[in-house]
């Protein structure tokens, strides 16, 4: 059923795409159904074991900590031991419920957000593919299965961010996000393979129950590579900046991918592998430092931004930093706080993003400088925002408060155990918490509650034109009821949660136990009594209110930071450098006439052979058999040499083309002599096609009137030709040498197995389509791509138009230098012929 659920989401995305959802009023409800069904199924399948419903037995948490609710396994590539295996346990269940539950809400919301957008179906297709990949990550029980779905989320996230592909911001954000997450994905792949090899198994449940991985000499490499994957995905410092850039995505995608689910994939991975990898100082400090910096950086920068989505994005970065920092520790309290934090964050940040989308939709702006008093026009939306925002700030008695208590408790406990890291994290968390209060209040006050735009923030540095516009915006488009209902449902869940913590513990505790790797006795609670955590929490709120009141000063101070420090700018510089390097390489290797380019390619092949020949004694190159040269071969060789010579010396193009054809045909005859009919056929056909093409092109051109080649150029060309000939000669010689003939050849295997194994008597063809099918697959893919490249080249401006001055000079020469023929055009013709290659490469570069 696990694989079937993933399949259901994939197919329903396709069905929605085909249904043209933008034309149907009920499409939003229909889209919400599949994720809802998967949610219900998850609750149903775990009802007895987790929630203790229906079944006679009480929920047995202890069984669950290492047991699975459901597991499945499918063969994928049997010979490589690759399997698709899925496993539902406490942690997977929690993440799975978040993914499908919020997914259902977002699917409903999307229809109203993208109303009348004719690419809505495409958005649904990408969204559901993403949902399926995300479920694959959290349900995977095999490292490689996990990786495949991990990459799936990178690709679908790219498509979703770049949805409005007309906008440069969307394209840039999508590209940056993809490069960063895909680079992290590559590191992760290596890390996972090392981990699998070291642990002796790719099954995750087997790896995490295996002790002693941290003692392996490969452990640091494994850890760093996996952390690179997780940190890039979860936007941890120093990769945090792609997440705000990804906010160019349509709001449903931002809410779903970039706050509720995808950015949690890194957190999930760290949590999943926590039992196996966390018992080392390296783990502790890597997560503590990166997570701590991320948490502070995000929280401080968030308040600087006027765009609601940018503010929320940095707030998300900060939250992810907190989760990473918590995962650095191994105490029950910290891990419990992780699980509660993930759930709470999804339940308040998701709705806040959705609200930002509604505001954008209704007023046409998300700029805090232009919004004010929205509670009058959008009362229900504002209520949602206020509940979610106060939860984000951590005000009691909301869910955010509970999780903040839990995390402070976690850090305190670590500190009390004499762990210096605990105190560091505690300090950072209190500061981040204070800033969270400040940015939450800023968001709520400025957008929803303050009576007027120009109340107390007169310092907003708007351009004069912007100030004219900043008279406040009007709500011109009242949101439809289901549009607001979507975030309302999530906020309602989040608001109720603190009062039903007892039943909710059935969901949270097994998940924490899965991270902890053993039974967890603690529970999160709304009221612990007057603990130090509560006092710290209240202190953070007080500090945050103070920051909120001084926000104009904060903003001014933060705006003084130089632009060059921003991650995006640094990254863009690196990218520009890579592009520049590519251009230099292209100019170096391809910036000349065709003849020179060919020479470069041939010499590049020749040099390694010469280098390799130094290691081979020349007498070892002698052929194994005494070569016997019969009359036919001799005639053919002579014919080839003569026709090649004629080609070079030909006076007319047609003559050269024909003698070149003769060379080709003699080579074909060689193939026939040595009984290779398939090669001969192919060679002959290629020969015919190129010959006809050349005739087609060249005979129509005016006669070649260029002066004979310069001596030095001639000599250079002859040298290159000799080198290329020597290359071929030595290659054949080497292949027929005694050593090579004695080495075990694969041809015997092919000959024996072609008929029984490949069902074909034509060994060449059986090799192409069966034995070496993968190679052929690669070749035809390259061929198809070559067609794409050709399309670009042939549709580019083909022939360089000389500019005014140049063409006048040419015409002046043309009149005098050329006698006979058609003087007016002959010279430009020559010029075009010489210039074209340079020109083409300039275009393609």
């Amino acid at each position: 059923m696990l694989a079937a659920s993933i399949g259901l989401l994939l197919t329903s995305g396709l069905i929605l795409y085909l249904l043209r959802p933008e034309r149907r009023a009920w499409a939003g409800w229909l889209a919400a159904l599949p994720p809802l069904a998967v949610t219900v199924w998850q609750v149903d399948v775990s009802a007895a074991s987790v929630f203790g419903w229906g079944a006679a037995a009480k929920p047995s948490l202890l069984d669950l900590q290492n047991g699975a609710i459901q597991a499945e396994r499918y063969n994928w590539v049997e010979s490589l031991g690759m399997v698709l295996s899925f496993r539902l346990d406490g942690l997977s269940l929690l993440f799975g419920l978040i993914i499908t539950g919020i997914g259902a809400v977002v699917a409903l919301y999307t229809h109203y957000y993208l109303e009348n957008d004719e690419r809505q179906g495409y958005f649904y297709l990408s969204l559901f593919a993403f949902m399926a990949s995300m479920l694959g990550i959290v349900w995977a029980d095999n490292l490689l299965t996990l990786f495949v779905f991990w990459e799936g989320t990178s690709v679908t996230s790219y498509l979703l961010i770049g949805y409005s592909h007309q906008s440069a911001a969307a394209r840039g954000g999508a590209r940056n996000a993809f490069i960063i997450t895909a680079a992290g994905g590559l590191a992760l792949l290596v890390g996972l393979i090392l981990l699998g090899q070291e642990a002796g198994s790719y099954t995750i449940s087997a790896i995490i129950s295996r002790p002693g991985l941290t003692d392996s000499p490969l452990y640091p490499a494994i850890l760093i590579l996996i952390l690179l994957g997780a940190f890039t995905k979860s936007a941890q410092f120093p990769f945090h900046w792609w997440l705000p850039g990804a906010m160019a995505a349509p709001t449903p995608a931002s809410a779903y991918l970039h706050s509720a689910t995808m950015v949690k994939a890194g957190i999930y991975l760290l949590a999943r592998l926590h039992p196996a990898l966390s018992d080392s100082p390296l783990w502790l400090w890597a997560l503590l430092v990166c997570g701590g910096i991320t948490m502070l950086l995000g929280a401080v920068i968030a308040i600087r931004h006027w765009d609601m989505k940018a503010l929320l994005a940095y707030a998300t970065v900060s939250q992810l930093g907190i989760l990473t920092t918590l995962l650095a520790f191994r105490s029950e309290a910290a891990l419990l706080a992780v699980v509660a934090g993930v759930l709470a964050h999804a339940l308040y940040k998701g709705p806040l993003f959705l609200v930002a989308g509604i505001v954008d939709h209704a007023t046409g702006s998300r700029d805090l400088r232009r919004l004010a008093g929205l509670w009058r026009a959008l009362p229900l939306t504002s209520a949602v925002a206020i509940f979610a925002g106060l939860s984000m700030a951590g005000f009691p008695p909301l869910f955010g408060f509970v999780t903040k208590e839990a995390l402070l408790e976690g850090f305190l406990k670590a500190g009390e155990h004499g762990d210096a890291a605990g105190w560091v994290a505690l300090g950072a968390a209190v500061i981040a918490g204070a800033f969270a209060v400040a940015y939450s209040l800023t968001l709520l006050w400025e957008a929803f509650l303050r009576p007027d735009v120009a109340d107390d923030q007169g310092d907003a540095p708007l351009t004069p034109a912007g100030r004219l516009r900043a008279q406040g915006v009007q709500v011109h488009h009242a949101p439809a009821a289901p549009f607001v209902a979507a975030p309302l449902v999530l906020v309602a869940c989040g608001t109720v949660a603190p009062f039903v913590l007892q039943p909710l513990a059935a969901l949270i505790t097994p998940a924490a136990a899965a991270i902890y790797g053993g039974p967890v006795q603690k529970y999160v609670a709304l009221w612990h009594g007057f603990t130090p955590a509560l006092l710290l929490s209240l202190f953070a709120i007080a500090l945050g209110v103070g920051l909120f009141l001084n926000r104009s000063f904060l903003r001014r101070a933060l705006n003084l930071l130089p632009d060059g420090l921003r991650g995006v700018v640094l990254f863009q510089n690196i990218l520009d450098g890579i592009y520049a390097l590519g251009q230099i390489t292209a100019r170096f290797s391809q910036g000349y006439t065709l003849a020179t380019q060919v020479a470069i390619v041939l010499l590049a092949a020749f040099v390694p052979v010469v280098a390799a020949l130094r290691y081979i004694p020349l007498n070892a190159l002698m052929p194994a058999k005494e070569p016997s040269l019969g009359a036919p071969e001799t005639i053919l060789v002579l014919l080839t040499v003569v026709s090649a010579y004629v080609t070079v010396r030909a006076r007319t193009r047609l003559g050269a083309i024909i003698s070149l054809g003769v060379v080709g045909v003699t080579v074909t005859l060689f193939y026939i002599f040595f009984s290779a009919p398939d090669l001969a056929l192919t060679q002959l056909l290629i020969e015919v096609l190129t010959l006809v093409l050349l005739v087609l092109v060249f005979t129509k051109l005016p006669p070649d009137t260029r002066p004979p080649m310069q001596r030095i150029k001639q000599a250079r060309t002859i040298l290159v030709a000799l080198a290329a000939g020597a290359f071929g000669f030595f290659l054949v010689l080497f292949n027929s040498s005694e050593a090579m003939q004695a080495a075990q050849s694969i041809s015997g295997y092919f000959l024996e197995n072609a008929v029984p194994g490949g069902h074909g008597a034509n060994v060449v063809n059986v090799i192409l389509v069966d034995f070496r099918g993968f190679d052929t697959m690669g070749e035809i893919t390259v061929l198809a791509l070559a067609a794409l490249g050709g399309y670009a080249l042939l549709h580019a401006p083909r022939v360089h138009l000389p500019d005014e001055k140049q063409s006048r000079r040419l015409r002046a020469q043309g009149g005098s230098a050329i006698a006979g023929g058609s003087p007016a055009i002959a010279d430009p013709a020559k010029e075009e012929m010489e210039e074209e290659p340079t020109n083409l490469s300039a275009n393609s570069g």
Partner: protein
Amino acid sequence: MPELYLRLLNRILTPVLLLLALFLLLRGHNLPGGGFIAGLMAASAFELQILSRGHETVRQAIGPYLNSAIGLGLGVAICSGIAGLLEGTFFKGVWVNLRLPLLGQVDIGTPLLFDLGVFLIVVSVTTFYLLGLSRASDGAISQLSGAVADAPFDADSVGEGEAATGVAPRGRAES
């Protein structure tokens, strides 16, 4: 008009060449032939058409299908690989022995399907290049020999006009 003979030849030869291509494709697994060779053979049939009737006519006839045929070829090839999953792993050959009315016992398997994909890609990529190059050479030639600007050079219309017709003789900026 030398193309007259070519047209006559084309009438007779093109169907023969296409049939030959089909024949080579089908027998490829046991006798010389196969997807690559059959693809080239079919492409040479189209080349004959281009020579005799001009590339515009051929483009109108088969041009719209070329890009789709490339995609289709890749799709067919990948599907034949996926079919191998039924037998356990990607690209594993799956064979069925069929008794067909005229041919008798025939082995049919996914490698043959794969060969079909190869054929589709080779024929469409080659024809695509033949069409593109003959158009490009036409354009270049008409630019070179069509000589000096009848029509004034208009920077804005060049890109579009070329993309649409491809043969629009490009005038040289005169004054």
